[in-house]
């Protein structure tokens, strides 16, 4: 599932970017959600521009924040499942570094 470096995987993704990390489980799903998030951000901009009712704008901002949070939790889960677990399986000090990185990212999420 994480073997995205094989030609088949690249074909399935329709691209050949050698720098891709390839750990994202369902990329099309994330891209669709992020497109929606972009649209929501544009919607909030329009609501402020039209000076719509503040509480309605805040409701949209909360929905947008929740949608972002949900994307972040999904990406983090993918990261733990692939990068952290893979590093642990390889052994060596890299697993510690990966866990440290993940913990720092979690702290930023919890505090944001």
């Amino acid at each position: 599932m994480t073997d995205t470096g094989s030609p088949a995987a690249l074909d399935a993704r329709g691209e050949g970017d050698e720098h891709a990390h390839g750990y994202i489980t369902d990329k099309a799903n994330y891209l669709a959600r992020l497109k929606r998030i972009e649209g929501q951000a544009r919607g909030v901009h329009r609501m402020v521009d039209e000076e719509q009712y503040c509480i309605d704008i805040l409701t949209q901002v909360s929905a947008l924040t929740k949608a972002l949070e949900s994307v972040a939790l999904g990406l983090l889960d993918d990261h733990l499942k692939h990068c952290v677990v893979d590093a642990a399986r390889m052994g060596g000090p890299d697993a510690d570094a990966k866990v440290k990185e993940a913990s720092d990212a979690i702290a930023r999420l919890v505090r944001s």
Copy 2:
């Protein structure tokens, strides 16, 4: 500043929308921040599309969430300052309704 019903205020806004709420203290500032937020959302979409490193994507999502939160807190402050205080000054049951609405919006923000 909240007297957006006067012709001068309408001219300053360059629009004549009679339903505008006009409580936003520094609209140009909010619009600029929301444009940046839209750009950040587009950036996260691109990072996922290019399969950049998950932790870097999460860092951007946290920054975006913080920026949104800050806009929300500003709008809420404007709302308390204008709508809630104005309703309280007018007397009558409307102040209670405005406080209820504000408290509900705060709860959504705190929980999102």
Copy 3:
């Protein structure tokens, strides 16, 4: 309801503290919830002392955080309803100071 300075109000509260703010709508309810929160904190301490399973401890910490959040949102609602609305009704610059204070408290809650 906010006239806690009258003898009747003091009798009703069963105390004569002149510095009490008396804006808390249902004090007995808050005290009961905070007693439970103290018990939850003691429970988390015991779980760590007994080295119970980390995920179970985290579940308790999340429940405790949610309970605290809910108390904070209730107190904030009381504050807006009483202190902010009362200050607005009295007129003068005090309402601005109260709103500023409330907005700062909301920001701390949203960011914590």
Copy 4:
């Protein structure tokens, strides 16, 4: 430091619980912080009982929430470092279950 299975460690803990998980890196530090958190919870209870100023109570609640959050992030880091990495090293399906559990705990923290 995590060798809590040795007789000395058990003596230091004054207990011999065979079910202890022993993954907590610096237990004494967590216990001290949780004692402080209990004291903070008791302090908030007293502030409400004495009807102290709402904003001051909210400031204490935010400090308490932050202290709890920090304990939770530490426990989570310990959990990733030990339980998740160990399960990954052992191989087999247990690592997936541990990651799922950790991701669920992270989601509860982010949303609380």
